[in-house]
């Protein structure tokens, strides 16, 4: 069991709902959240892959960055607000269309990853960005973004409401019955919807590899909206345990485990987040390391591993078949979809090719492992919905 935290745990708006559902509440990033409900992680995991899982991710850090004095010229205002955040992140923010969301990386001066986050261009308001950061890093992230925007734009935290995710192949049918129109959103786009008088920000996005949505709901409407979703028999509540096993199968990195301030975007296999325009101009924090790694190759690469036998957990050493230690597991566990142990970790590029036979040390014993292409389970995003 975890030690008693120094600070009292924060409660999400739906805390009473999780307790009423007999969720097993655990401390996570300063919040009290359900790791699983009585059905258990494997059932919850498979339900999400087969139907629709409802997740409470209200510990995360949604926010809105708004120009202090927008001109009303939508393109000029967007360029102005994008210019404030671009020096901190890897992505092309200026190039976002209204309502488009982009996965990007917040960089530190050394070329390491300070956080991974989503940045969207408001579909409605001139000079406004929707920014969602991780729970454990949100204080530092918000301070950095606010400082970078000081005097020119204001960062409004929006982490006092509920952030919910509905994920799985039936999510589109379930959600469009409550919010007609969500079916027309493509992957990584968002729009504002009204539900019983409340304004919801709904994006087609998620952290499971499945089609689905993430929804920012005002605290006052959170319980009613949660209940309305759970009233649909295709929906079951899903805890953090299955959220982790789902994202691991989808090969998606978890900040604080697979990504940290020492890991670069090139090492993490996240070069797709590097804007071509901004690579050429070199105006990204930590650009020196990035350019060197792009030119000469990184020291290590994030890889997927199939592991034979017991799961290799975070911290397990990765070795050559002969036993030389070459890297470390950063996330590992059991894949409910594949019924076998899988892991993410870092190895030197010479060992990173799919099919390479390696080993992992679990409780001092060597177990065979093999580099496997990511994702372990194919993504099923809906990029262009049928009209």
């Amino acid at each position: 069991m975890a030690d008693a935290p120094a600070e009292p745990l924060l409660h999400v708006p739906l805390n009473d709902r999780h307790i009423a559902l007999n969720g097993r509440m655990v401390p996570f990033a300063g919040y009290c959240l359900p790791v699983q409900y009585p059905t258990g992680i494997i059932t919850e995991h498979k339900w999400t892959r087969d139907s629709a899982g409802l997740f409470d991710v209200s510990h995360m850090g949604p926010s809105v960055l708004t120009l202090a004095a927008p001109t009303g010229d939508a393109e000029a205002d967007h360029r102005a607000v994008a210019a404030l955040i671009e020096p901190l992140v890897t992505g092309d923010i200026a190039g976002l269309r209204p309502g488009q969301l982009r996965y990007t990386l917040l960089m530190n001066a050394d070329g390491g990853i300070a956080d991974d986050l989503m940045v969207g261009r408001s579909p409605l308001h001139s000079g406004s960005l929707y920014i969602i950061v991780n729970a454990a890093t949100k204080g530092a992230d918000f301070a950095r973004i606010a400082a970078a925007a000081l005097g020119k734009a204001v960062l409004h935290r929006a982490d006092d409401g509920a952030l919910l995710a509905l994920q799985g192949p039936k999510a589109v049918d379930v959600l469009s019955s409550l919010l007609p129109g969500v079916e027309a959103l493509g992957f990584m786009s968002y729009l504002r919807f009204e539900w019983q008088g409340a304004a919801l920000v709904v994006s087609r996005s998620g952290y499971t590899g499945e089609d689905g949505y993430e929804m920012l709901v005002p605290a006052a409407s959170a319980a009613a909206f949660w209940d309305a979703l759970l009233a649909d028999e295709r929906v079951k509540p899903i805890g953090l345990g299955a959220r982790d096993s789902l994202r691991l199968e989808a090969g998606l990195p978890l900040y604080g485990h697979d990504l940290d301030p020492t890991v670069s975007p090139v090492e993490a296999g996240l070069t797709f987040t590097l804007s071509k325009r901004r690579r050429e101009t070199g105006d990204i924090a930590g650009a020196t390391r990035m350019s060197a790694e792009l030119a000469n190759g990184p020291q290590r690469l994030r890889v997927g591993l199939f592991v034979e036998g017991a799961p290799a957990r975070e911290g397990a050493e990765i070795t050559t078949p002969e036993g030389a230690v070459i890297g470390r597991v950063t996330s590992g566990g059991f894949s409910p979809s594949l019924s076998r142990a899988i892991a993410l970790g870092f190895v030197p590029p010479a060992y990173a090719a799919p099919g390479t036979k390696l080993a992992v040390l679990v409780r001092g014993r060597s177990q065979p492992a093999e580099i496997t292409p990511l994702p372990f389970v194919p993504h099923r995003y809906v990029r262009k919905p049928a009209s």
Partner: protein
């Protein structure tokens, strides 16, 4: 009479060891079990086996000193037996006890029920 440890193992009078209903509920879905080698000698409290849930690995300690005389091979293919029948088909290993008197120091069912809440 079945006896219980504070770490939520049970041991039957014939030396059969497993984890309790309460423990399997706390661990959740068991996905892998590392069994001891037959013939291994264990002191009371030694790490004897490992059960892994989706989230974490948990050590199983020997409730008493003895020699491992049998292991439940069925768990290799079907670790979830610990969830569905911890007290029966989900047994883990069997000890030939060095000293049956060691069991007197463990909890009976009534005493265990008071800590398994």
């Amino acid at each position: 009479m079945t006896k219980f440890t504070k770490d939520h193992e049970y041991i039957k009078t014939d030396g059969t060891v497993g984890i309790t209903q309460y423990a399997q509920e706390q661990l959740g879905d068991i996905v892998f079990v590392e069994l001891p080698a037959i013939g291994k000698t264990l002191k009371q409290g030694d790490e004897a086996a490992v059960v892994e849930s989706v989230k974490a690995a948990s050590e199983i300690y020997a409730p008493a000193s003895g020699t491992v005389v049998a292991v439940n091979e069925a768990l290799s293919g079907e670790p979830g037996l610990i969830n569905t029948d911890p007290d029966g088909a989900g047994w883990i290993f069997k000890l030939a006890l060095d000293d049956a008197g060691e069991l007197d120091g463990l909890m009976d069912a009534d005493a265990y029920a008071r800590i398994a809440v």
